[in-house]
Amino acid sequence: MNEIKQVKGTGVPLLLDDIDTDRIIPARFLRCVTFDGLGEHAFEDDREQDPKHPFNNPKYQSGSVLVAGRNFGCGSSREHAPQSLMRWGINAIIAQSFAEIFFGNCTALGVPTVTASAEATEKLCKMIEADPQLEIEVDLEKMQVTAGDFSCPVETVASSRDALLSGQWDFLSLLLENKPAIQKTADSLPYMKQFA
């Protein structure tokens, strides 16, 4: 797996709270057996109802750094949500806060998710709206976001940061390494032996 240290790209401003995963990818698009093709349906219903939705705006079509509000990705555990954002072209998300399952899913896909203050996210969104071509850099080493002459500190979960920086965000390989320890834990649990 590749090490993910910095992600650079233009921004997409979406400063709303409590954006749930049903909105990111409506359930009818979960009728599939692969994640292929989910990208084009990201925020489909929101886009339909709001012509001004940032995902409709030609200015942001090449944006890859999403800036969001509080509790982003709440609700359903569907990995289809980060998959659809990733396939749309989003490579990093800066939000005021994240829902936990969504956060973990993003890390497992190699999409850095960092939190910044309300002030910083508001400022970033204003800057993106003023200049959609502005390059934004999410730096996981420095734990900082930079855009033009603006920069602000960001936070994330230490284990997620370590995993991305060291290229170990594909947890499956890590988990597979500890077979004997897994067996030992299994043997110590009374229910594994049917309480015999």
Partner: protein, 473 residues
């Protein structure tokens, strides 16, 4: 295990395989439940890497989300649903996992099937690619939803990489008033602590109200932990838990059951247990509760008025206004009298036999209001069978309800049961998100199944405590 440890920490420690280089815990998983929506890509990941399922005997699959609840003839009319169904059948065959498909009388919503079969037990770690896995915490298990990449990890290693959350004890003391149900307790807790309040926490539910609740009621509350931001919620195992588990198909038997019971009880948080946070609520403050917005935290007691945006901190107001606009409601209005087009009784929150019994008791002798489409969808085939044995299906049909086969149905939009246009639905499910019930503009009001039954009869939202018994009953 020390006296100061709460149940969560005891169970966590017992399942701790070790610390990963990323600092997370590698946690052993006692029971892995899977369904057709979030598993196909996980099995594909296993195939790609040439991996097997490590503990197929600790894994159980069922189908629920895409299952049609009226015409169940195969192949399904929805070809995408048929494809998903064939895929899970193929995957389970190939990897040796037991599948309860629609031809099996144990099939149903995954969170109803696990407890009903006796697979959900205290002291287990339970995961499923589904956020309402928190339901299983009712037994004193650590149970939470995971993403598809993690499903692949659990299939291959029976473990998961996770950071330990903090634990908040939520005590609800005193007595619930008549007409106030477990669903109201769940909605009230989320209203008080917020939809973000539980982020980073596991919730321990305790106090008089939970001590007295049946297992089914505990499941309703634990189910909605995730709507309050908590990935996991649990109730300590007690005699009620043990009585429920005795003689279930997959429960231990004989001596083993006695040993198991002893172990289960030993895991409960004791009087000296420590918590990262404690919240105490009074049962007397809880009314029949209904949501008015587009998150499960946006709710009021049925005798209250929809709040004004000014009642909230400034940063919340845009979201509140967005909710009013979407719902077509106004600040200061009552929810009583809001007309409904559809009513839905079912889902993993409220699709169990006790929910159907209570709703049937209320609708007996009444009739669904003209123009209202009223659905009753049992959560599993076992619930359906029990309801038919008790004649509940007849009561519902006579009252003008549609009686359906088991599945997720109108809880979400993956099967033919959907809202149309801007229809308003009184629903016993768990999410009132925009578009959740299948129409991108459809509107959902969450409430207890009893309140849904009352809305079906009246044709509008009403206080279930005022539904009079029909003459002659």
């Amino acid at each position: 295990m020390t006296a100061k440890q709460n149940l969560f920490n005891k169970v966590w420690d017992l399942h701790n395989v070790g610390t990963l280089p990323t600092g997370q815990t590698q946690l052993f998983i006692g029971l892995h439940l899977i369904h057709e929506v979030t598993s196909p890509q996980a099995f594909e990941m296993l195939r790609d890497r040439g991996l097997k399922v490590l503990h197929p005997e600790r894994t159980l699959a069922t189908v629920d989300h895409i299952v049609p609840t009226d015409n169940q003839a195969r192949p399904f009319q929805d070809l995408l649903a048929e494809q998903m169904m064939s895929q899970i059948e193929k995957n389970c065959r190939e990897f040796g996992v037991t599948l309860l498909d629609i031809s099996d009388n144990r099939q149903g919503i995954v969170h109803i099937v696990g407890p009903e079969q006796g697979l959900t037990q205290p002291g287990l770690t339970i995961v499923c690619g589904d956020s309402h896995t928190s339901t299983h915490g009712a037994f004193g298990a650590i149970a939470f939803g995971i993403g598809t990449s993690q499903v692949a990890g659990v299939l291959a290693t029976q473990t998961l990489a996770l950071s330990k959350p903090k634990v908040r004890r939520i005590e609800v003391n005193g007595d619930l008033a008549p007409g106030v149900y477990a669903k109201d307790v769940a909605l009230y807790i989320i209203q008080k602590l917020g939809v973000k309040g539980g982020i980073g926490y596991a919730y321990e539910y305790a106090g008089d109200v939970f001590d007295r609740m049946t297992m089914e009621e505990r499941m309703t509350v634990c189910n909605m932990s995730i709507e309050g931001g908590a990935r996991c919620g649990y109730v300590n195992p007690d005699q009620t838990t043990i009585d429920y588990l005795r003689d279930r198909p997959q429960s231990p038997t004989g001596k083993a059951f006695e040993k198991a019971s002893e172990w289960w009880l030993s895991l409960a948080s004791g009087p000296d247990a420590e918590f990262d946070d404690v919240v105490v609520l009074d049962a007397a403050d809880i009314e029949p509760t209904v949501t008015w917005g587009i998150t499960p935290g946006q709710s009021i007691g049925i005798t209250d008025k929809v709040p004004h945006p000014e009642d909230f901190p400034e940063s919340d107001r845009p979201g509140i206004r967005e909710a009013y606009e979407y719902m077509g409601l106004e600040a200061g209005q009552s929810l009583q009298g809001v007309k409904v087009d559809v009513t839905f009784i079912g889902s993993c929150t409220n699709g169990r036999i006790s929910d159907l019994r209570e709703a049937a008791r209320l609708v007996q002798g009444h009739h669904v209001a003209p123009g209202v489409k009223a659905l009753v969808v049992p959560g599993s085939q076992q619930v359906l069978k029990q309801a038919v044995e008790e004649g509940l299906d007849e009561i519902f049909r006579e009252a003008g309800f549609e009686w359906r086969a088991a599945g997720c149905s109108m809880c979400l939009a993956m099967n033919p049961d959907k809202l149309k246009g801007r229809e308003v639905c009184a629903s016993s499910s768990n999410r009132n998100f925009k578009g959740r019930q299948g129409s991108p503009t459809g509107r959902t009001l969450l409430m207890s199944p009893a309140m849904v039954a009352a809305a079906a009869i009246k044709g509008y939202i009403t206080d279930v405590r005022e539904l009079e018994a029909p003459v002659g009953v």
